[in-house]
Amino acid sequence: MIASMFFSVLLGAAPELPPESLLRLPGSFEDQQGRRLQLPELAGAPTILAMFYATCPRACPQLIGSVKSLLGELSEEERAVIRVVLVSLDPEHDSPQVLAATASARGLSAKTFTLLRSDPVSTRTLATALGVRYRKSEGPSPDGAIEHSSKIVLLGRDGVMLASKDGAADAAPLLSALRELLHSKGP
């Protein structure tokens, strides 16, 4: 036991994530404070994950609103252990500064909310794994608008997807999965 702990410290290895963990997906990310990180570093907390973009006029405020109302259903102690990760679909425009401005405009405290951006390839990878579809609208719609499906995903402490909610679907199943996770000791 001690030997294996010693080796993982020696190798600088995080505890091995299961093959189905979304946090094993590749890519380098930046948060709203400009910190660089990789997804495995997010392991260890029950995580609510969604994709959005900063200049989104309608769907994203709704998405963030439904994440907030989900959190509103929980006690303060429960909220304290949850991490919310919002990943940008528009990495070209959503710099750490833009993400920080979004966080402060929407009242998203850094204690709970991590806003991330990556590069176009890793963004597409993560979105595809989550089942989030998106495209940049060109032509008549406003410049830079991104059409996307809205999905809120619950990840276990090891990054395995436990539940999800599509668009305007009922939040109850996601909430009960979240409660169950919060009261379990497992991953």
Binding site: R24, T128, V132, R133, Y134, R135, P140
Partner: protein
């Protein structure tokens, strides 16, 4: 003078098995999108990736062996056309590899220093084909045993874009045919998206097919080829 030409030739040399495509503009076949996408000149594989090429890849990278790939990256059908994880048996080694997920196709291309083409890039390369024969092919069910790659070249020297397999593209997830795309009064061809131009119906069918896929899906008649930016 001669040296200049030789140098120019070397700089612009196209890697074997690839052909330049574009620049050009691709117009989406979907009425609702009404957009033209500019496509920069790029390189595309002349042929789809074959079973034997993919076998060489999984020999090198055991993470992509059948049985080793997590469900997050490929469904249970992954490489199910092969006899074993490293045994082709019934399939033609020179036929396009199928039963591969988007994640697997991307990993293969990455291992070659390449990538998947975008929808706009792929469609630009495929333009100009005879719509009637493509639609006739779409109407058939997939044969139980796919034939080898190497059909006749199109105007760009690219082969098998139609008539053998469907192909993954990088942004298949940009085709959205769900309830979001549904608007009243539209022809319900693909969950609400409507075709701009009946003559472009083959392109529209590809749009609808992409819209029905998930990144983990593996399908008997879905393969891929790789692309690359021009150096």
């Amino acid at each position: 003078m001669l040296t200049t030409w030789v140098l120019l030739f070397l700089v612009s040399a196209v890697p074997p098995g690839m052909a330049p495509v574009g620049p050009g503009t691709w117009r989406s076949p979907v009425e609702k999108e009404a957009r033209s996408v500019p496509v920069a000149r790029y390189l595309l594989d002349v042929r789809p990736v074959t079973n034997e090429q993919y076998l060489a890849f999984v020999r090198r990278d055991r993470r992509w062996l059948r049985g080793s790939v997590p469900r997050l990256l490929a469904d249970a059908g992954y490489l199910s056309g092969w006899k074993g994880p490293l045994e082709l048996a019934a399939v033609d080694p020179r036929a396009p590899v199928t039963w591969v997920s988007w994640f697997a196709a991307r990993a293969y291309c990455q291992s070659q220093g390449k990538r998947l083409a975008t929808t706009a890039e792929w469609e630009l390369a495929a333009e100009g084909a005879d719509a009637a024969s493509i639609l006739a092919w779409y109407a058939q069910t997939a044969p139980s045993r796919l034939g080898p790659v190497g059909g006749p070249p199109n105007r760009l020297g690219i082969r098998d874009l139609h008539g053998l397999v469907w192909e993954w593209v990088e942004d298949f997830g940009s085709a959205m045919i769900g309830a979001d795309a549904r608007a009243p009064g539209e022809f319900c061809g693909a969950g609400g998206a409507s075709a701009r131009d009946p003559s472009d119906y083959a392109s529209f069918m590809r749009f609808a097919f992409r819209g029905s896929l998930e990144g983990t899906h593996t399908i008997a008649a879905l393969g891929f080829r790789c692309a690359k930016d021009l150096p």
